[in-house]
Amino acid sequence: MANIDALKKLSAQVRRDIVRMVHAVSSGHPGGSLGCVEYFVALYKVVLKHDPKVFTMDGKNDDLFFLSNGHISPVFYSVLARCGYFPIAELKTFRKLNSRLQGHPTTHEGLPGVRIASGSLGQGMSVAIGAALAKKLNKDNAIIYSLHGDGELQEGQIWEAAMYAAANKVDNLISTVDYNGRQIDGDVEKVLSLGNLKAKFEAFGWTVLENNYGNDIEKVIASFNEAKNLIGKGKPIMILMRTEMGMGVDYMMGTHKWHGSAPNDEQLAKALLQLEETEKDY
């Protein structure tokens, strides 16, 4: 069993990385990134079968992760770096010229840990399904994971993919929705309601797990374990994971305003006071 205290400490550091990265370039997406810290820390530190030191595009026999809502790149980059995929110091190049840490993740600059470009929403589930089908063809029993925003589910391609995965029994796939209820223009419920999301995915033929505590690392790990036990049972698996956008920084919580804006100097200082430096800042 993973040391929960260590995971919580890493989560605090990842949150520091996120706010410092977006502050440094006055751009980027801190809100969703902060909300998904526990998902990423649990996935990369506890759940995934992977070797950060030996990254290959094909990832033979490794579990693979696809980030579909690419704008939460700060949390993705921080966790990849702190797991050893690339030097932690490289986080300071985020969104700067000639960086491998592009605003949205890409394979184009050869950043270890990234297997697909994402940012234009709705495409990642299809890619994850393709990778899952390749695993099956290769008789590779590893698992494919994907993460999606709740607002992203407004894209039609997600539902093409959801239909395909169930109809074709893609049962080596664990997708998760970051169900924070907010998007750029406001509450998802007001922008375009998703209705009964659980019923929708179930109607499409998925096994749906609900986790109302997506910022509780132990509960996130528990959801992953539950999902892994459902692998190979003929259905794709969806975790609807309730999170709080902006989690960990008081003034970024309870609003959609920090979806895509960076803190100024004063706001950064206020945020860092709330987040313990548990590992060294980059």
Binding site: D58, K60, Q123, S126, V127, E160
Partner: protein, 318 residues
């Protein structure tokens, strides 16, 4: 004028189907995806021979492009099949982000391109696909001219690492290139050496260019005819060499003038060797219902249109 003959007319899509079937036997990494047009794309043979490597996606082209991109992660070489319209315009962003920008080894295979799709009309007759695809960085764009060349191109692109757009069509047309002719991506094929004008033709317009060459020869005009099967990367060496000799050029294609082969040729020549050029292409217009032959005549893509363009461009020579 070199004499070209053919024993039968065949559709280029069947060349694709035959090439794909052959690849299925020779390369276990080749997989195929289709969005509910298996018969139209002639993918049935592959589907029958390799059911485990064939993915019926349903009418969901965006999902198909994403799944194809994902299949490359794990070493597969996916060939997607649907009409040209649904292979490009409908899924441009999916191709751009998940395939081209991500550098995925996907072969986007597109049938029923252009006016010769015929009676279905303009909703299905895409004439902008070459332009859409060639604008994407590092995308290879191929438009073969007959059954044999399409089959050879299908086999050749599996050996090339990177995204490729392969465009072919529905009607039966003369199958005149040698069955054993090697297909080299980006290498133009000299069909007839001449001195008065260069005709650069791609796809279905290649046979029309041969017909035009014969008509021009009867009028005493010596046409150099080159088949440009690869629009990107363009064989600029072959083009320049010919133009330095003939001093004028006609491009011929079943595509919009904007964004097509002619546009690529003009861009190259304007920078390297400005040359009078005439375009046989659709001029800023949608198509309509009709038979392929009627449409090619109405929209100015027939051999007589190539002859007229040649006669005009020759008068513009300095």
């Amino acid at each position: 004028m070199k004499k070209y003959t053919y024993t039968e007319k065949k559709d280029t899509r069947s060349g694709f189907g035959a090439g794909l079937s052959e690849l299925g036997k020779s390369n276990p990494n080749v997989v195929a995806l289709c969005a509910d047009l298996t018969g139209s794309l002639k993918m049935d043979a592959f589907q029958k021979e390799h059911p485990d490597r064939f993915f019926q996606i349903g009418i969901a082209e965006a999902n198909m492009m994403g799944i194809a991109a994902g299949l490359t992660i794990g070493g597969k070489i996916p060939f997607t099949g649907t009409f040209a319209n649904f292979s490009t315009g409908r899924v441009y962003d999916q191709i751009r982000q998940s395939i081209a920008y991500s550098g995925k080894n996907v072969k986007i295979c597109a049938s029923h391109a252009g006016l010769t799709l015929g009676e279905d009309g303009a909703t299905h007759q895409i004439l902008e696909d070459i332009g859409l695809m060639k604008m994407l960085p590092h995308m290879v764009v191929i438009n073969p001219c007959d059954y044999n060349q399409t089959k050879a191109a299908t086999i050749a692109i599996a050996a090339y690492e990177g995204p490729v757009y392969l465009r072919f069509g529905r009607p039966t047309i003369p199958n005149f290139t040698p069955a054993d002719q090697k297909f080299e991506i980006g290498k133009a094929v000299m069909l007839n050496e001449g001195t008065d004008v260069t005709i650069l033709a791609t796809g279905h317009l290649t046979w029309k260019a041969i017909e035009a060459g014969e008509a021009l020869a009867a009028k005493g005009i010596s046409a150099e005819i080159i088949n440009i099967h690869t629009i990107k990367p363009l064989d600029t060496d072959a083009i320049l060499k010919s133009i330095l000799k003939t001093k004028c050029v006609v491009t011929a294609e079943e595509h919009q003038m904007n964004g097509g082969l002619g546009d690529s040729v003009a861009q190259f020549l304007s920078r390297n060797n400005p040359t009078p050029q005439e375009f046989v292409a659709v001029n800023d217009s949608f198509g309509e219902s009709g038979t392929p032959d009627e449409l090619m005549k109405k929209y100015g893509l027939d051999s007589v249109d190539i002859v007229k363009a040649v006669e005009k461009v020759i008068t513009r020579k300095k």
